[in-house]
Symmetry: D3
């Protein structure tokens, strides 16, 4: 059967700051600029999850997009939406919530929930101009 | 010469339903939900066709985008636009018109019309949130 | 208090055809072209509902956008999404489902549910290039 | 001379929470839901400022869009971008930063800087689905 | 019958420069900056034409969107697309092609072709961030 | 460390024409059509630069997106924005400014400025419907 990639777009709104706890406030400000504001700022994150595999000849699906939608909702949106990533999301207690690191965390969360015969890729937009992709 | 990918975006509006004729109506409804509505629903499909090859040093083109535009128009838009995919498009008489399967059908139609030294990829948006990619 | 307009974007996918039952099939085809295909075609309708009124000084809201979201969901999306507008939606039994007429039907449905001190406007995209606005 | 409206799009990223200090935390949570999260969340705000007036026959401008761009930058983006609206922006010390109230604050800030023969309107997107318009 | 606005989106690509022939090159550069480059620069102009009137109860149309599409094509796109506005379009021989003035020229061209019982409005995007609206 | 791709979107407005100096005007018109207009036309070019590499565990960055933004600004936007590509940009004195060739030129300019342990890819939109990708 043909090997096809399906994509599902989702989104969440969150506050964050870029911050390395091993550094002084001055050093954080020097490296991360206004992104390091200790009072936080925030984004409308747009997320595209891509899943690649063979089409099931019975359903015509690589994976039911409705199942993928619900999986993103329960694993990512409920965990991140309307949250302060630094303060409220355990994954970022010791990991700086850059768009790169958030992409890796999302990939790892989904990787455990989707069967390994399917490849995964994550694209995360922090803004329409800044985004990242991670494929494991 | 450098190997570059050119992309052309096109679109068509069509009605469809997800349906496996081997199943009862109840089973179709159970698996495909409201997408299996026997009265059909529809989409504004957005299509991106990508063609990869070496730049022709005389024209600066991988392939004339205007030729690609007309090819998509004659092979895909005229065949699918303002049609009921299940009822009026022969390719879906026995193939369920999921976004995955429509992508494969579009790829196969274009593959026969574009010389084999050029690679093709098809991205098809069923909605802005659900889409698929197929590269043969 | 300042008079502000809030806007909420929603969407639904539906099949339809343009059709005047007083006319022959030939006349329908002549006037409506491929939009009159008897097997239907479809669209991803994008809907923006705008509500204008004074800001409530206690909440800072003209109207809770979350209430507006649920109202659009229950009154419009549940009625129209994944439906065949001509066949399954009573409002279009005798009304041609042009983008103009669908906008008026949506406006009228919402008008009865939103208090009259608030003005309403409806913008409906049939495609990204064809859309309509109705404000009563 | 013809009376024309020019529009300039800008953006800023900020953290905020919806909060009425006269209420208990429970009441805030009941009315504002997850938007009241005490740890804040955030948005990529997209802003469109519209200015209406007669075309100057010498320049062909209603107002130099480059001047409008710099005005939005100095008055709005520098004040709001990468800030926590509740904590760091004086305008929201006693005003709940709903999309309605932020629109009014932006309008008022710009109104004092643009000559009164020109009309102003402000459209503010909190998300692509939730937005507000204020025209004084 | 309800009074509804229909909108049609179109586009054209053109070169232009901002230029007042009564001024020296230095004065043009001082006022218009890089937009006055004597070798020209260019844009993908996006155009939205809006037409307001009563719905025809027989067709359900304010105006056939397909007729409007063809009218924009013949009157605007054929005149402006892939042209140098300053050099090749007579309307801008003595009129500076600012986004404001182009909007007025488009409005005037269409106004003579659409019956006067219908109101017209023109929105023209020079870039996604700079645009203008003219309604006569 | 995980290998991630970061993406930065930028833009520039420019005039150009497609032209092969070895050909007659008639031959240029025959091959390139209205894109060969000797008075030029223009575009709002949208550019996405992608950089792939390992995340730096200290910053959480593959490459500081702010550094990438400034690099695109100094190397590409300042060289191309509000310019006539054929006349004013040395790279296109003998290279036809097709979207394919502009992508290669942008890639080559950036390749010398970004360390070789990082992979680069360039996506360039000439219009929302015509675009190209080059990855070296």
């Amino acid at each position: 059967m043909p090997r096809v990639t399906i994509h599902r777009k989702a989104h969440f709104n969150a506050a964050h700051r870029l911050f390395n706890p091993a550094w002084s406030d001055e050093k954080n400000l020097e490296v991360f600029g206004k992104c390091s504001n200790p009072h936080y700022h925030g984004h409308n994150y747009e997320l595209i999850v891509s899943v690649t595999g063979e089409i099931d000849p019975v359903t015509g699906f690589v994976m039911d997009l409705s199942v993928l939608r619900k999986l993103i909702q329960s694993e990512i949106e409920e965990a991140f939406d309307h949250k302060n990533l630094n303060v409220e999301v355990a994954d970022f207690k010791t990991v700086n919530p850059t768009v790169e690191n958030i992409s890796v965390v999302i990939y790892n969360k989904l990787r455990t929930k989707i069967r390994t015969s399917l490849d995964i890729s994550v694209k995360l937009y922090e803004t329409p101009r800044n985004f990242a992709t991670y494929s494991g």
